[in-house]
Symmetry: C2
Subunit: 192 residues, 2 copies
DNA sequence: TATATTTGCGAACGATCATTCGTAAATATG
DNA sequence: CATATTTACGAATGATCGTTCGCAAATATA
């Protein structure tokens, strides 16, 4: 048994926060050192490079989305309900892990070589998974017949600003989640 | 009469493209010099600093949104139709000026001091303007009663991925625009 | 043509970047 | 307690950053 948060994990956590507010390139190892309470040179007993930090955070985020989707597929049968749960997944990840969301959305572009290739493959797998859910929901007759990739991207974008909300109370978070779901499901037009 | 594109404008244009793909911090003056066909030191006959480039691009984008909104308010009476036109505004800006969109959405965070203050004030004015449209549309009874700022942010996000589409044909762009509008207006649920 | 202004460039500046290395303190292991 | 391993640090390295400066070429002005 160890401390639940190893120093390595602390580095990743603080880095995610800094990458969110300043961007990967805009965050220096000195910034991170100050945040963690170490000198810059001390990092290299724990990690290999700055790139490794970005890589780890990106992969953790990708895994979070993929495992969430797997769980949805395993526990819910109706494809339209799977879709609703997927939107909820994005909303709750945005609230529970805001900095990782930003890195997952934006900062992965600074990955290079194999890290980039792997991340993009994971991302593609995830998108194809969600698109599969959307296609099934359309076939089931419960979802409007729109381009599945367009639906995917629009949903991603529509839930993408939530992580800006600093720390919503639980009630507030649920109210927001409910309204976003309603907007995506029923649209803005009254009495359609 | 001069050339329609001054060297200064060319610098801003190429910079916007680089800022989009590499980020502001990730783009060096040497990168930009290569793109424009100058040596790094030659920039400073035309511009004051790298910051000035970002500032100019951000302000141009803000002005583009604000003037678009003004025109909508002046030419359309019904608030719900104003809302639809606003969404169209975002979609068409995303297609017509993709790199400026990214800078407007993401890179403004690297502004500093007065530039940042001014940009945020312009952005706030714009948001308040659109929120006003939304409130009126709700009052008119044609729009569902959701939190106006939530509607604003969700729309911003939902149209935020469009600039990734490299160069859609006009037909394709209109098809995409139509589907995004339909999704936002009528939602995903069939027979609501 | 003579002169003034704009534009471009090579070289260099100080600052900051991620990272390495030798070494010392701290900690774990026997 | 003695030894081995992990962790932290100060100093330095080479690279790259935005920017400045003096000077030449190009261009506009007269």
């Amino acid at each position: 048994m160890e401390k639940t948060l190893t120093r390595k994990d602390l580095i990743f956590k603080e880095a995610a926060g800094l990458f969110q507010s300043q961007g990967y390139v805009g965050t220096s190892m000195r910034d991170l050192a100050t945040k963690v309470g170490l000198k810059p040179s001390s990092f290299y007993s724990h990690i290999k490079s700055k790139h490794e930090i970005l890589e780890t955070i990106c992969n953790q985020s990708a895994a979070r989305f993929l495992s969430g989707l797997e769980q949805i597929k395993n526990s819910i049968d109706d494809p339209f309900d799977q879709w609703i749960a997927t939107v909820d997944l994005h909303i709750s990840i945005a609230f529970e892990n805001p900095s990782a969301i930003t890195v997952f959305n934006d900062e992965w572009r600074h990955l290079e070589g194999d890290s980039l290739t792997y991340f993009l493959s994971q991302r593609k797998i995830y998108q194809q998974g969600v698109v599969g859910v959307i296609k099934s929901a359309i076939l089931s007759g419960k979802m409007r017949d729109l381009d599945p990739n367009l639906v995917f991207n629009t949903m991603i974008g529509a839930t993408r600003w939530l992580h800006f909300i600093s720390s919503p109370g639980k009630a507030s978070a649920e109210r927001i989640a409910g309204q976003v779901q309603e907007l995506l499901l029923s649209g803005l037009k009254k009495e359609s």
